[in-house]
């Protein structure tokens, strides 16, 4: 399983990378390669040119802004897993990362790579959509960004145009004190792509009432879905309210059947995992004291 031949280029700047991409429609970006290289090996992808962006300084680093954490696209998953800023400010990402692939794939695989790959059952895109992250994109005409909801279109298809490259992901940081996250997935084996995955984040006030709630579902549709949990604000995230909100959000959900899971299974388990994720988030948030520093 050797790839078809390609030319390999390692630009020294992001601008150069975009120019190379723009100039050749047979060119593709490679970063960690954990999802691209298997496709090359099976000759499912045959770019004439690979543009290696892994070492571009503009794409590296994790930095905080007010209200957000900006994760450079080439941040390795393993690095993000260990990063104290992510742990403190984007706890959902920290929680999910141990479930992404295996330790060796996290050592090379990047946050941006997973986003650009857009596998509907992948965990990192699920986090991006659930939190309403922004995808920051480098283009030959300068940087742009778009909500992750708009970025993911279909399985393995994103809104990236030719000459464009994911440069960073801007994860919103909740200002509240009592935040908890929940994450569950079901797969045939640990760390396979999930049949169904649910990610939740809630914030509680001092009395345990919900100030904010975010819930996302992966593995079921063409893309990760953010579910509308606005009805939960003000409640105590009791079972009945949570159940109502989730059942309403998933009422018309469509799911695919494949070798590994039936559509009926996905639809049913989506409901279960969503409820459990919210409950897990609630429990985790409750454990935090109202006066705790974030």
């Amino acid at each position: 399983m050797k790839p078809a031949p390609f030319e390999y280029v390692r630009p020294t700047s992001l601008a150069e990378a975009c120019a190379l991409l723009a100039g050749d429609e047979e060119a593709r970006v490679i970063a960690g390669g954990q999802t691209l290289v298997p496709m090359l090996a099976m000759r499912l992808a045959r770019p004439a040119k690979l543009i290696d962006i892994l070492r571009l300084p503009e794409l590296a680093g994790i930095r905080e802004e007010s209200g957000a954490v900006i994760v450079g696209a080439t941040t390795r998953q393993a690095q993000a897993e260990r990063d104290p800023v992510i742990r403190a400010s984007v706890p959902m990402l920290a929680k999910v990362l141990p479930w992404v692939g295996h330790p060796p794939t996290r050592n090379r695989g990047t946050i941006g790579g997973s986003i650009a790959n857009a596998d509907p059952s992948a965990e990192i895109p699920l986090v991006a959509v659930t939190l309403g992250a922004e995808i920051m994109i480098a283009t030959t005409n300068g940087p742009k960004s778009m909500p992750s909801d708009d970025f993911f279109i279909e399985p393995m298809v994103t809104a990236l145009g030719q000459g464009e490259c994911v440069s960073a992901i801007r994860f919103p940081v909740w200002p509240h004190r009592r935040i908890g996250v929940g994450f569950l997935e079901v797969s045939a084996r640990r760390s396979d792509f999930a049949f169904v995955a649910a990610a939740a984040q809630v914030a509680l006030d001092g009395e345990g009432r919900c100030i904010d709630a975010a819930l996302g579902l992966g593995g079921v549709g063409d893309r990760p879905l953010r579910l509308d949990m606005s009805s939960l604000v003000g409640t105590e995230l009791d079972a009945a309210s949570v159940s109502d909100a989730i059942n309403a959000a998933l009422a018309d959900i469509e799911a695919a059947s494949d070798l590994h899971a039936s559509a009926a299974y996905r639809r049913r388990v989506a409901v279960t995992l969503c409820k459990r994720a919210v409950e897990q988030a609630r429990v985790n948030a409750s454990a935090k004291s109202a006066g705790a520093a974030r």
Partner: protein
């Protein structure tokens, strides 16, 4: 393309086409056959090498991407020809292998783990080798090997107070319990008081 790599502490160069994986380059250009091809699509882990000390699937890297890192293959573990590292010896002690095909990758994954911690829990070990598939052993004796290696490494640099009768017992503790066929008890990792 000319590629300059650092492999097992030595600088090695070759002219390698871009599509050649690090796995194939190690084997064909640098004649290091200890790294094995199992699937060539990043699932089985037989191709595992260390890149800056961390396990990576060499079938998912191209040789042209591999410059600027310290790459370690299984051949880089033994201190001298005919010698075995503590971890390699531990795998021999518990028979943590059979056909040997997944073994180099497995040992490197273990090596990386034990550089992070000498008190791994069973779950830590399971997670560390979860990216390496073995079809022979069912993993039991591999996990025992890593536990055994951890135990020996913990003791390796500890000064023994004096060589008295109490410490003769250490030799016995270095070997696994009698009767490997009996139900094994999980060893609690020993935390040395410093």
């Amino acid at each position: 393309m000319k590629v300059d790599l650092r492999i097992n502490g030595a600088s090695r160069s070759a002219d390698i086409e871009p599509r050649k994986t690090l796995l194939d380059a190690l084997r064909e250009n640098f004649l290091l056959n200890g790294t094995h091809a199992g699937c060539e699509h990043g699932v089985c882990g037989a191709c595992t090498v260390l890149v800056d000390g961390e396990p990576v699937r060499s079938c998912l890297m191209f040789a042209v991407q591999a410059d600027g890192y310290e790459i370690t293959t299984i051949e880089g573990l033994a201190s001298a020809p005919g010698e075995l590292s503590v971890i390699q010896d531990a795998f021999c002690e518990t028979h943590g292998l059979q056909c040997g095909y997944c073994t180099p990758g497995m040992i490197l994954a273990a090596d990386a783990l034990l550089r992070h911690t000498l008190t791994p829990t069973r779950e830590d070990i399971v997670e560390a080798i979860s990216g390496n598939i073995c079809r022979c052993t069912g993993y039991g004796q591999i996990i025992e090997a890593v536990q055994f290696a951890a135990d020996r490494l913990r003791k390796a640099n500890t000064l023994r107070p004096h060589h008295d009768a109490a410490h003769h017992g250490h030799a016995e503790r270095d070997t696994p319990a009698e009767g490997v066929l009996e139900a094994a008890e999980a060893d609690e990792p020993v935390v040395e008081a410093k």
